[in-house]
């Protein structure tokens, strides 16, 4: 009994701390949520940056809509989605997706990128028990929800902010990686003739 009470107490504390840590994305001049960052290139040639950028998107196809890639000399844009998971104590399943646009621009010794145009599409369970989009038209994440859906909407915004920060770290790390893996690791072989 005491163990159960202690477990519940710890669970409450963890939930409270998590709620305190979560920050929402800031808004841009047009009032849209945005994740925006400017990064120094540190002598990295622009063409190498582009190669690594394409490599990043090639290796992270899941969640990125590759059909909408656009690339010019100084601008790269793509659209993607993140899956929102409804997570309870013991269960988890997708409850929707947030679609977004990604843009990266280069300029002399630096580049900047941003994620914006976040739109939520709720999922619905289909006849086969799979979760699928219930509509094709997303609701901008900036929209203020009705009172009774406020908590849910807040969770979508929080998960989006966490995703954007994680995505940014991942792409920055990939673009700065001096050694891009170009071949598969050698296969391990066991020698059994001599023992």
């Amino acid at each position: 009994m005491k163990v159960s009470i202690l477990f519940l107490y710890l669970l409450c504390i963890c939930s409270y701390l998590k709620a305190q840590d979560t920050e929402l994305l800031p808004k841009d001049e047009a009032g849209k949520f945005i994740y925006y960052e400017v990064v120094k290139l540190h002598d990295l040639p622009l063409h190498t940056l582009k190669v690594r950028l394409l490599d990043f998107f090639a290796k992270n196809k899941v969640g990125l809509k590759s059909t909408k890639f656009q690339m010019t000399d100084s601008t790269f844009s793509a659209s993607g989605k993140l899956i929102i998971n409804k997570t309870m104590v013991v269960v988890s399943h997708p409850s929707g997706e947030v679609n977004y646009n990604f843009v990266l621009e280069t300029k002399l010794d630096k580049y900047r990128f941003w994620l914006t145009d976040f739109k939520f599409i709720p999922y619905q369970k289909d006849r086969y028990g799979n979760f699928v989009p219930s509509t094709t038209v997303g609701v901008p994440l900036e929209n203020e929800p009705a009172k009774f859906n406020a908590e849910q909407w807040k969770e979508y915004r929080s998960q989006t902010a966490l995703y954007a920060a994680s995505f940014a770290e991942k792409i920055k790390k990939h673009l700065a990686d001096p050694v891009l893996k170009t071949s598969l690791p050698a296969e391990k072989k066991m020698v059994t003739k001599v023992w």
Partner: protein, 346 residues
Amino acid sequence: MKNIAAFSLLLFGTATLAVAQEKASPLEISGSVDTYYKYDLNKSSNIKTFFANEQNSVSLGMIDLALKKTTGKASFVGELSFGPRGQYQSIPDVTGGYDPEKNGFNIQNLYVNYAFTDKFTMTAGYMGTFIGYEVISPAANFNYSTSYLFGSGPFQNAGIKGTYAFSDKVSLMLGLFNEWNQYTATRGVSSFGGQLMVSPVEGWTAYINGLHGLDGYGNYSTILDLTTAYQINDKVKIGLNAANLSAGDDKFGYSGVALYPQYAFTPAVALGLRAEYFNYKGISGGPSASVTSFTLSGNIKAGGLTFIPEVRFDSDKDFTQGFFKKDGVTPNKSASQFSLAAVYSF
């Protein structure tokens, strides 16, 4: 046909073993619970289309529990339901009947799936039918009561099917199935069917379906079905279902069409109409009979909960539905009801 089915299962089994070492996703658990109150203006359980049929009673729908897991390219779905809607009103018992006292089988979906490539997948087991617009689960329907087209068509198909996606806009499914709604084939794998999906523009999807074989009425029949929906903008959606079933040498059966316009005032509040015309074809050249039905439903969402207030008017000019006047004895050509349902999805 048996050989093809056996070969397909063997191929499917071999492929499934091959992915045993691949990465697994977490186990997904989801489901829904629903309950309703219905009041018929003639104080009788007049409208008998599936579900929401009990008069002046706070009644149960079902609790639905689904598990899904993906390991590499293989996945399974197991979905069980308990309660009138998910048992004897839609799910057969072990003998294939719908006896509420014997019904211990509660299976909505129980199948395994393997994606051979990004474009080609195979599925085997007991699955929700690919025919029609509406489904058993109230969480996936806009209206709470269901259409005559839904009630007359198949609910589930046990079998094996392969789906090839030519692109995001076009895919084709072909499959071999038992007779409708049966876990065990009584006359072998007796049916074959297919579904062509086309999505001409974003937001518009159409399914052209066909199924030939032993139906739920004991006849060899062919059903052709069109199910389509178009999300015109964030407010307006229109759906359409049309079907024709021809059975036996006499080509009796049914045909019908239902239109589903819906308007969303906000993401949480929407109103939708179902307008349906349904025709029972006469047997051996006998007279046909038709029913017209209008159902106006609201969807008010609060978190996982959806309230569905609904009014429904059915017109039965040929007296096939057994509608009665207030005295409960005199036949009537029409029936009207109000219902309020609460559906919680998790």
